[in-house]
Amino acid sequence: MQDQAGRVAAIVERFRGVEGAALPILHAVQEALGYVPAESVPMIAAALNRSRAEIHGIVTFYHDFRDKPAGRHLVRVCRAEACKSMGSDQVAQGFEQALGIRLGETSPDGAVTLEPVYCLGLCATAPNAMVDGKLSGRLDGTKAAHLAAGLQP
């Protein structure tokens, strides 16, 4: 925890003097720690001269920011219209069945988080998913299950 506080303090310091620094700070905290710990909110609030409630409001507004770490692997399945038109329902099901969790859940052992994403901008190679930052297009249920099977626990 002490280490965490130190890292947040260093990040806050890095953005001193930047106008509208809240999002860049929150992105940097999440990148460093994997999530935005509740304990970091008062530190960010103090640095930006804002109330804790305001920072909490900002953190919770944006879908990207997590209040607890994601699984060791992160699978994001596009659920928007272009991917739906090419069968993203089957892709989502393929991941769900292979991983034994539903969209929006993390496996009990903390290995994988499966979540929806609304458009990766790959609408001409639909349906798509992003697995640990790597993009995969033209998927189907079988390929999704194959990608899921390739994840180390």
Partner: protein, 525 residues
């Protein structure tokens, strides 16, 4: 002898279908064969059904192969890929591919052709001419040229760019800003992403011209977090442009300062709305502001701000270098110039098709797009993203233009066209529109925040067959309130997909076709 140049796109859409592996396999095979190759990771040409599209540069021009998988590489090389010959997957000269040849590429002229990491390559292909011309002009003349081109906002609102810039130029302010909106959240759209990855200097050039035109000293480029490749590419390009003197305290030798900073979104669709986007850059919740005041008067940090879509800004260098007449010479009615139309979803020839306004929806999805990828009949086409209307084949004669789509209760939005075959269930798509609105609503205004949730409930009831006629009337009433009572386009336009689905596909909602159609005309025409 210089190395053979081979192009394997580094565009995210190409990466998603294996371009990295293909590039590695070609490099390895070349080393084995003792052929000296220079593999350029270009952007995409926008022919996504052919990605990964590999091109080989010959003295006579570039020839293409695609779609190439890593397993294809040995046989392609055996068939003469290094000499620009082939049979299977060989497409001949790239610029003769009909899908490309039929386009009018103004904004995407260089995308997929140049090495996006090279400013020298950008300049060798005509880049930078617009900025140098702008640097020699008084701000009002730059604005006048943009106004004369007829360029309108490509984010969807279609507001004349020249008028917006004139307002910012004439607004009083100790400092002013340019904001490029690359929060491209609409499903079915990828023009911003493709351009940032394939021709990043055109974005920088457009922003710098805007800065000189309106008197701004700083530009913010707001990119959604779902685009990590575009973010990295733009950050690198901004550093390169700064080192070359295009940005910084002496922007393009004008003695005036202009810098660009990338800001990254955080997964909120509503931040694509211009005032929510400004709030987000300021470090606030992405809640929509009431207008007036317009951002042009009181925008970022309270200063006069030109907020433009990324494609709009990247269209400006052409206007400056080729002249406003050349841009305005093509188009349809009040929609001048070209639109990068993005053909996506269940379509055979998927990709980006930049064309003059006026091409009909039917030509786009059938002639250009080749119908559905599944080979089944087209049942619905959603135009303009998740807030755009569903068009049935009966309306395929609609010309692609702001006014023509508005006249048919639709919108062209950012140019996304998503095709669905006859397996689509339209009540489910209408429900999805309401669900998406509920998920993404910023919560500031009641019609959007509450209305979207009530809409999901009504559609659930209709899908379950409960009081369908009564609930359809309620749904229409609700959509009316959302359309006219919401602060921004999220709540205001969600009725478009919902009502178009209800109007054109009443049977999917358990309604008798004729009765609903008549009622529709009465209330929504």
């Amino acid at each position: 002898m210089s190395a053979l140049r081979i192009f394997v796109p580094g565009d995210a859409g190409a990466l998603a279908v294996g371009a990295d592996d293909v590039a590695a396999a070609i490099a390895k095979a070349a080393a084995t064969a003792g052929v000296s190759v220079d593999i350029v990771r270009n952007g995409s040409r926008g022919l996504y059904w052919l990605e990964p599209l590999v091109e080989v540069e010959l003295p006579t021009g570039r020839v293409a192969f695609g779609p190439v998988s890593v397993e294809d590489v040995p046989s392609l090389i055996a068939a003469g890929l290094f000499e620009g010959r082939g049979e299977r997957l060989f497409l001949g000269r790239t610029d003769e591919i009909p899908f490309l040849k039929a386009q009018t590429r103004f904004t995407f002229a260089r995308c997929g052709i140049i090495d996006p990491a090279s400013l020298a390559d950008y300049r060798a292909h005509g880049g930078g001419v617009g900025l140098m011309r702008a640097a020699a002009l008084p701000p009002a003349e730059i604005v006048a040229m943009v106004a004369a081109s007829g360029l309108r906002g490509r984010g969807g609102a279609g507001f004349p760019t020249g008028i917006k810039w004139k307002t910012v130029l004439e607004a009083a302010g100790a400092r002013k800003f340019v904001v490029a909106n690359a929060d491209e959240g609409d499903s079915g759209t990828f023009a911003d992403r493709m351009l940032m990855e394939g021709d990043p200097f055109s974005v920088i050039e457009g922003m710098a011209i805007a800065g000189l035109a309106v008197g701004a000293t700083r530009g913010y480029l707001y990119i959604r977090s779902e685009y990590p490749h575009a973010i990295a590419r733009m950050k690198a390009a901004i550093a390169t442009a700064g080192a070359a003197g295009w940005l910084g305290p002496d922007c393009a030798g004008t003695g005036r300062a202009f810098d660009i900073e990338v800001r990254v979104g955080a997964g909120a669709y509503v931040c694509g709305e211009e005032t929510a986007l400004l709030e987000s850059i300021e470090g606030e919740r992405g809640e929509v502001r009431a207008k007036p005041p317009l951002p042009a008067h009181k925008g970022l940090f309270g200063a006069p701000t030109a907020v433009n879509n990324l494609v709009t800004l990247a269209s400006v260098p052409f206007v400056l270098s080729e002249g406003p007449e050349a841009y305005a010479a093509v188009g349809f009615g009040r929609s001048r110039g070209t639109m990068p139309i993005q053909l996506a979803g269940n379509i055979r020839y998927s990709g980006l098709f930049e064309a003059a306004f006026g091409v009909t929806l039917g030509e786009l999805v059938k002639t250009v797009g080749g119908g559905t990828l599944t080979g089944r009949p087209i049942r619905a086409v959603q135009v303009g993203g998740p807030l755009g209307a569903y068009f049935p084949p009966a309306l395929f004669d609609t010309p692609f233009d702001y006014e023509s789509f508005a006249a048919r209760d639709g919108l062209i939005g950012h140019g996304g066209v998503v095709v669905f075959d006859d397996t689509v269930e339209m009540a489910g798509m209408a429900r999805f529109a309401m669900e998406f609105c509920a998920h993404e609503s910023c919560g500031k205004c009641t019609p959007c925040r509450i209305g979207s949730t009530r809409g999901v409930e009504l559609l659930d009831a209709m899908i379950a067959g409960r009081e369908v006629v009564k609930n359809a009337a309620l749904l229409e009433d609700l959509c009316d309130i959302m359309k006219f009572g919401s602060l921004c386009a999220l709540g205001g336009f969600t009725p478009y997909p919902v009502m178009s689905a209800l109007r054109h596909y009443p049977g999917d909602f358990g309604l008798a076709p004729a009765a609903t159609a008549e009622k529709e005309i009465a209330t929504w025409a």
